[in-house]
């Protein structure tokens, strides 16, 4: 399965280019090659491929990247709707 683009235009990923120091850690940790290096700085290249795992933001030593990380799992989201965020538990669809 080559094309792993999900819904377009929903990702919460942000990049503050002025803070980037060009360490390129974000390009190493992103599992969907969303970020690439351009002229010594990271840029968002394939925003719609972002699954909001939060790896880039967590590993950015400059806090240049931001994302609302979460679990892309309908069974989990359903539980947060009905039971609230704290009681939610994945399990359902093999998500963990």
């Amino acid at each position: 399965m080559r094309n792993m683009t999900y819904l377009p235009g929903v990702s919460t990923l942000t990049l503050d280019a002025s803070r980037c120091n060009g360490c390129r850690t974000c390009t190493l940790v992103c599992p969907h090659a969303v970020l690439v290096m351009k002229d010594g700085h990271a840029v968002i290249d394939r925003r719609d491929d972002c699954m909001e795992c939060g790896a880039c933001a967590l590993n950015c030593p400059q806090q240049a990247l931001g994302v609302t990380p979460g679990v892309g799992c309908a069974a989990y989201v359903l539980q947060t709707w009905f039971k609230g965020k704290d009681a939610a538990c994945c399990g359902g669809s093999g998500c963990c």
Partner: protein, 411 residues
């Protein structure tokens, strides 16, 4: 179970009081309890995984210990002997793997956290960090056949790398804690750790360096790329860093999807059948006709289940649409159409439409639930999709159910 780690067992050392740092050799196979009485507080204690009290008892020491058979001697080190793991999987491993995949005894199969060896590692050998899920540890040691390496197993409550990272158990805090507990800095002369790339959503590499002096190197996503990676362990090439979702990977998820859907499906179907039976008995139609229509409803639900939990994962890239609920709906429509043409007896149009709607709603809902098993669905996307999909599914299934119940009543 609650106080088991405080109770001295035969052959075990007495546990230290919690405020004294334990610097004794960490030999998970030989003496899992009493090493470090408390586990670090995790972000999520609520569910998903094992209460820490269970993990502090030594699975390896019990009679049916699931890991004892892969313990192959010890490797000497400055902090004492380190247990060596076999790199050939046995039928027993495959049987255990099948069981944890189906959610049976996953807790029992959690590997005790700590330092292990494969081959004959020396102080310059690489250190690979991993989760203590049965299938994770097995995939790792299998790929390391013929290699010499240290394996640092974190306590992720028996959960795989990706999910543990998302849940905050595969995190810098646990890693630093486990580094100190295993006294790795005395075992190896270098200061590098190879982490699976998918743990990056839980581990901040620069914090690990700050807190322990060890530098994090992001290894490949898949364990099978490790042999190639270890020949030049500087940086994983782009193809090792990209997520895949091949047909084979999707196929392994099908049994998981079925087992997850099975119990709720039986419940809901059972309730619907009971309702239909009561209604049918009260109605004017003869019993055999009622039974016949009831079975058609059951069949329509099962077709939806197959479409959503089996066919959707397999055919995923080729089904039109972006949203999973839509993909499942399309496939449900197709599956209902084919099954009614090929297998069902002739019926009137109203019943046919009602059954089709039941199939579509079931398939759409299960396909939507498959988002959690894919490596690319984002939470923002899932939530956006669910905002329209859940009401739509509810509407479709309600109309379908009413139509079906009406057919049961009227015969």
């Amino acid at each position: 179970m609650k106080n088991s780690h405080n109770a001295p067992m035969s052959g075990d050392r007495l546990p230290l009081s919690p405020d004294i740092e334990d610097t004794r050799p960490h030999l998970p196979f030989l003496s899992a309890p009493g090493i470090l009485p408390e586990l670090p507080r995790q972000r999520t204690d609520a569910c998903c995984g094992i209460p820490s009290s269970i993990l502090t008892t030594p699975p390896i020491a019990s009679r049916n210990a699931p890991y004892r058979h892969c313990h192959q001697g010890n490797v000497p080190s400055p902090v004492g002997p380190i247990p060596r793991l076999g790199t050939r999987l046995t039928p027993r491993d495959y049987w255990g793997g099948l069981k944890v995949r189906l959610g049976m005894g996953r807790n029992r199969y959690a590997m005790p956290a700590g330092l292990y060896a494969v081959g004959r590692p020396d102080p310059r050998s690489p250190v690979l960090v991993t989760a203590n899920y049965k299938l994770t540890v097995d995939a790792l040691r299998k790929e390391l056949h013929g290699h010499d390496a240290w394996i640092l197993v974190l306590d992720t409550r028996g959960i795989n790398v990706w999910c543990a990272a998302g849940k905050g158990t595969f995190a810098a805090k646990e890693l630093v804690h486990r580094l100190k507990a295993s006294r790795l800095e005395q075992v190896v002369t270098h200061r590098r750790l190879v982490l699976p790339q998918l743990s990056a959503s839980g581990v901040a590499g620069h914090l690990v360096k700050q807190q322990s002096g060890f530098r994090v190197i992001w290894g490949p996503i898949r364990a099978r790329d490790l042999p190639a990676f270890l020949s030049r362990p500087k940086e994983a090439p782009p193809d090792m860093r990209r997520m895949s979702f091949t047909l084979k990977e999707r196929l392994t998820l099908v049994p998981v999807e079925i087992s997850a859907a099975f119990r709720p499906a039986v419940w809901i179907l059972g309730m619907a059948m009971l309702m239909a039976l009561l209604l049918g008995m009260a109605g004017p139609a003869p019993f055999m006709t009622v039974l016949h229509t009831m079975l058609l409803g059951g069949a329509a639900t099962v077709v939806g289940l197959i479409s959503g939990a089996v066919l959707t994962p397999i055919l995923l890239p080729w089904i039109p649409g972006n949203a999973f609920a839509l993909k499942g709906g399309f496939l449900g429509l197709g599956a209902a159409f084919i099954s009614q043409l090929a297998f069902y007896p002739a019926m009137d149009v109203e019943t046919s439409i009602a059954l089709t709607m039941m199939t579509i709603a079931t398939s759409s809902f299960l396909a939507m639930n498959f988002t959690g098993a894919t490596p690319f669905a984002s939470p923002s996307g899932v939530e956006k999709e669910m905002r329209w999909a859940i009401p739509a599914q509810a509407l479709v299934v309600t109309i379908g159910l009413i139509g079906w119940l009406q057919a049961v009543w009227g015969g």
